[in-house]
């Protein structure tokens, strides 16, 4: 495999508060290669979106990156600001938001929004930009793109609008796309179409995609690899098939078990007992131990291992599917 498009190394994001410093992202590392989709899952507040925002430089004060680095094709981007960051956005990395209803300007036609973005980044004539806008709409599956280019966002349905948003994120041909819950606001039948569209564009254009979601179904459908986050840390990272079928971290296993499955004929939904701890009240030891049925004294005393310290798959002292003695 060649150089990864995105490389995040030991990323730490901190928010100073009156009651002490919170770490919504704590030592996260991963790579995304060209043409690869990395799914990032976790509960609300696990740090998924925060990681995505850190990459694209969207952290709002007082949150800030305190250590670690973010490399875009080998080039550090986590210290960029102002004009340098603006040049990167859109041109080299794009973002797709959760709610397509609000992420388009209601007073501009979709054609204008696309054309202006293309003109901002690419050295083309206005007529050429218009052509590219039509092509971009066509590529994301808007029927009769040439006629629809003069339409306003409210003239599209939710699913169609999300396609426009994707076209907007991709129109300047970025290498990396961060999709933050792109299907959450859509109804189920449209979700599958949007996931398929993302997958196709990723393959055809060789774009690296970071797909942030809490929907395991979407991950299983679209992602090549999956990163599971818990309380700001990576719990597990691996190829999607391995993680889904043979989870090593007890948290991932719990997540999988709590996915509803009609074929199992179960009466009640299985769930992980308890809730994710608040960031200002993390337990001593592994953050997951109060909810873990495999917790040993060691888990209560020593913070969970980092991924690299273990086998690079699961950040757990006693991963599933392995004899307990290996790491103990």
């Amino acid at each position: 495999m060649s150089d990864p498009v995105l490389s995040v190394r030991d990323l730490v994001v901190e928010i100073p508060t009156r009651r002490g410093v919170l770490r919504p992202v704590d030592g996260v590392s991963y790579d995304i290669a060209a043409g690869e989709i990395l799914g990032v899952v976790g509960e609300s507040g696990a740090g998924k979106s925060m990681t995505g925002n850190a990459v694209i430089g969207l952290l709002d004060r007082p949150a800030r990156i305190t250590s670690g680095e973010i490399l875009l094709t080998g080039q550090p981007i986590h210290r960029l600001q102002g004009e340098a960051l603006r040049r990167l956005r859109g041109r080299r990395m794009g973002m797709i938001f959760q709610d397509p209803l609000t992420s388009l300007n209601p007073l501009l036609t979709v054609g204008d929004q696309l054309t202006e973005t293309i003109l901002e980044h690419l050295d083309v004539s206005p007529a050429e930009a218009r052509e590219r806008a039509v092509a971009a709409l066509d590529e994301v599956g808007i029927p009769a793109a040439r006629q629809r280019i003069g339409s306003y966002p409210h003239e599209f349905s939710g699913g169609m609008r999300q396609r426009v948003v994707i076209a907007l994120a991709l129109c300047a041909e970025p290498e990396l796309v961060i999709a933050d819950e792109p299907t959450t606001a859509l109804d189920v039948s449209v979700q599958a179409q949007i996931v398929a569209l993302l997958k196709r564009l990723c393959r055809e254009r060789g774009v690296a995609v970071m797909l942030v979601t809490h929907d395991m179904g979407v991950i299983a459908e679209a992602a090549d690899r999956v990163a599971v986050m818990y309380a700001g840390r990576l719990a597990e990272l691996g190829p999607v098939r391995d993680v889904v079928t043979a989870a090593r971290h007890p948290y991932t296993a719990g997540l999988m078990a709590s996915t509803p499955d009609a074929s199992r004929g179960q009466r009640r939904l299985r769930q992980i007992p308890g809730a994710m701890p608040r960031l200002d009240a993390l337990p001593v030891g592994c953050a997951f131990h109060p909810r873990c049925d495999r917790a040993e004294p060691r888990c209560r005393q020593t913070p969970g291992p980092t991924l690299s310290a273990c086998d690079g798959r699961a950040a757990c002292w006693f991963p599933l599917g392995q004899p307990k003695e290996v790491l103990a």
Binding site: L58, S103, L104, T117, P143, L168, A169
Partner: protein
């Protein structure tokens, strides 16, 4: 799919005029009698001011055509010496009051429109900058606005007027008076535009589409102009309408106080000032008719502004 495509292609897009007629705003207008009457009054007054040189029976600024014998002719009655009749009578110098009102309204409206335009441009630009950039830019702009708000607008206008008058050479004073008025009223009125635009900008700035525009790498300047400005224009329009009425009144006040339009180029305010000298000596028409015109103009613009504010507010529909 082809059916869908054909349907889109054959769907006729109505013309601009038809769409404007069909808009919610036009609908609300057609169902608001007060707004329609006000609009009619404003339209008649503005048109007659614009067409004053053609519809005024006399040219009140041509000294050659004035006959002092015509002085103090009561409205509708023939003059005792010359037997000429004037619809609204004449003033002390024999000027036709109807004609002076038409020409005076021209000056009042010109000053009002220009002053509001000036205030709007300054206020919108500063409000956008303050709201979007934040930080020290916002602090400086909004503190200046706060300080200006602690003085009555008319005082600020008089101050600016006084300074400007002091630095213009005496020979140009009458010529410059109109422009100085516009500057004075415009500069005293930008604050409310800036405040409202800043507030609306803060709201729009937090919307996803502005974030999205930032994230596709749009320049801050083009985000402000293309994305935020069109979305904050509704309140600006309302304030501009109401400000127009206030600016016309402010102009009249300044002229009434003798610091505005000169008697050689009288505005409605100047006419009222001239007229009030004759109020108790029986020549009531010299004061009454310009005052009524000012009242009608300011009131109907205000009512129109009120209607616009309600019509543009989606929560009041």
């Amino acid at each position: 799919m082809s059916d869908h495509q054909a349907e889109i292609e054959t769907r006729r897009t109505p013309g601009r005029l038809a769409r404007a007629w069909d808009s919610d705003l036009a609908y609300s207008f057609r169902h608001a009698p007060v707004a329609m009457v006000s609009a009619a009054v404003v339209l008649i007054l503005v048109l007659s001011a614009l067409l004053a040189p053609w519809i005024a029976p006399y040219d009140p600024f041509d000294p050659g055509s004035l006959n002092l014998m015509n002085g103090f002719t009561p409205p509708g009655q023939p003059n005792a010496f010359t037997q000429e009749t004037f619809v609204l009578g004449t003033d002390d110098q024999g000027r036709d009051v109807f004609s002076t009102i038409l020409f005076g309204m021209r000056i009042s409206l010109f000053v009002g429109f220009s002053a509001v335009l000036l205030a709007m441009v300054i206020g919108v630009v500063l409000g956008l900058l303050a709201g979007y950039l934040g930080g020290w830019v916002e602090s400086v702009i909004m503190r200046v606005a706060d300080i200006q708000l602690t003085f009555p607008a008319i005082l600020v206008a008089m101050l600016i007027f006084g300074i400007a008058k002091g630095i213009t050479p005496p020979a140009y004073r009458d010529q410059m008076a109109i422009w100085v008025l516009i500057l004075a009223i415009g500069l005293s009125d930008w604050v409310q535009f800036a405040r409202v635009v800043r507030g609306a900008t803060l709201v729009e700035k937090s919307r996803d589409y502005v974030q999205a525009a930032r994230l596709v790498g749009r320049r801050p300047f083009s985000i402000m102009i293309r994305h935020i400005l069109p979305n904050v224009l509704n309140p600006v329009l309302v304030i501009a309408t109401i400000s127009l009425a206030l600016a016309i009144i402010a102009e009249a006040t300044l002229s009434f106080l003798g610091v505005g339009a000169p008697p050689t180029k009288p505005s409605l305010g100047t006419l009222i000032r001239i007229g009030q000298g004759f109020m108790f000596s029986g020549e009531w028409w010299i004061l009454l008719f310009p005052a009524l015109t000012l009242l009608a103009l300011a009131l109907s613009i205000n009512l129109l502004g009120d209607w616009l504010r309600d019509a543009l507010n989606p929560r009041l529909r």
